[in-house]
Symmetry: C2
Subunit: 225 residues, 2 copies
């Protein structure tokens, strides 16, 4: 059985990406990165999603908070709230964590080498997204090429593929695909803040709500506001 490493943040998108990888016949090895984010709630969600999917799960620590520069790792920088989707996509927001997906993908590629896995799945999306440069398809293709040249499997002509099955989907499309794949959406956590419920107002909550609303479905996870 072919193996895939799946980056699992605990959010909606990576849960659907993981379910899609499973649907395509891969045996899943779920990887979460504890990078010093504001709260551990999403890492708990990642563990729950991995368990529901029957996937091996590992959490690797990388202390990106030591470098600062993002609202997600520095409590002194505010997380924006109440922004509309077209505003989000127009600019790189303070929640951007410099080079985060490159760090995540490189660790995932390293684990894929060790496991002899064929692919790394990531829930990156460039339609209803926060304007992060490292979610765009042209970036993902460039990273795939760097990983091909910089790994043993690449040298051997069996390069690790970087699969981003959601990259061209709208958030509503992601919700629909999640339902089709019976993804455990009720276990996910998308909020940038670490409250008892999702805040409903940060970029991540607003994109998620927009997705469920446009899909005409109720979100199984509740919100504060």
């Amino acid at each position: 059985m072919r193996r895939a490493v799946v980056l699992l943040s605990g959010g909606l998108d990576s849960c659907v990406a993981a379910s899609e990888a499973q649907h395509r016949g891969f045996r899943l090895h779920a990887l979460s990165i504890d990078y010093g984010q504001r709260h551990a709630r999403e890492l708990q969600a990642a563990r729950d999603v991995a368990r529901a999917l029957g996937a091996e799960h590992r959490t690797v620590r990388v202390d990106l908070a030591a470098l600062g520069g993002s609202a997600l790792t520095d409590q002194a920088i505010a997380v924006p709230q109440d922004r509309d989707a077209h505003v989000m996509a127009a600019d790189i927001p303070p929640t951007y964590v410099p080079a985060r997906n490159t760090v995540f993908l490189s660790i995932a590629a390293g684990w894929a080498e060790v496991l002899d896995a064929d692919a790394v799945f990531i829930g990156a999306n460039a339609v209803d997204y926060s304007g992060y440069p490292d979610c765009r398809p042209e970036y993902l293709r460039a990273f795939e090429e760097a990983a091909r040249l910089g790994t043993r499997r690449g040298i051997e002509g069996r390069a690790i593929r970087i699969e981003a099955p959601l990259v061209h989907l709208s958030k509503a499309g992601i919700v629909h695909l999640g339902l089709e794949r019976k993804a455990p959406l009720h276990l996910t956590w998308s909020c940038y803040l670490g409250g008892r419920k999702q805040c409903g107002r940060c970029d991540s909550c607003r994109l998620r709500r927009k997705g469920f609303r446009e899909a005409g479905l109720e979100d199984p996870v509740g919100y504060e506001a």
Copy 2:
């Protein structure tokens, strides 16, 4: 003054790369990665080299040992000794840490974004080297392109350059350049093992010795054997 992030392992090559970056007029921000390597001796050497160069220095932890697959992070895998240089270059050895330079460069690129630094310097070398795929110039160019597409500076048309000033030098050439740049070579540590002295027999020690020997110079750092 232009800034550069310099990956500083504590070894010979990164010390010379850092000195070269300083010579080119960059203000240095030295970055070491504690990735779960066999010993902390080289991280101490990195701190000493950074201090000697007057550079800011940070150590970021990434738990690559949690993924296994390398003699440098797994005590159960033996570090090869007494291999000749042409043998080393012919194959990828057990000391290869999957995707290590991609992990290192991505963290360095992230810090470069935060600092608004123009370049990341790495001491990668593809002449007298251990056959690691992620030391080759074609890999480094591909990573630079991924970083361009995946970072804010890249989007703004001010992409972070990946500089590998030693990539085409022989080990003797690296020693010569280090002397020319007055690099603090006496503070470096190249050995893969963590003894009181460098073992003199692992790939890294043998390449270092070969460099000093071919340069006709005495290595200021001693060996066990």
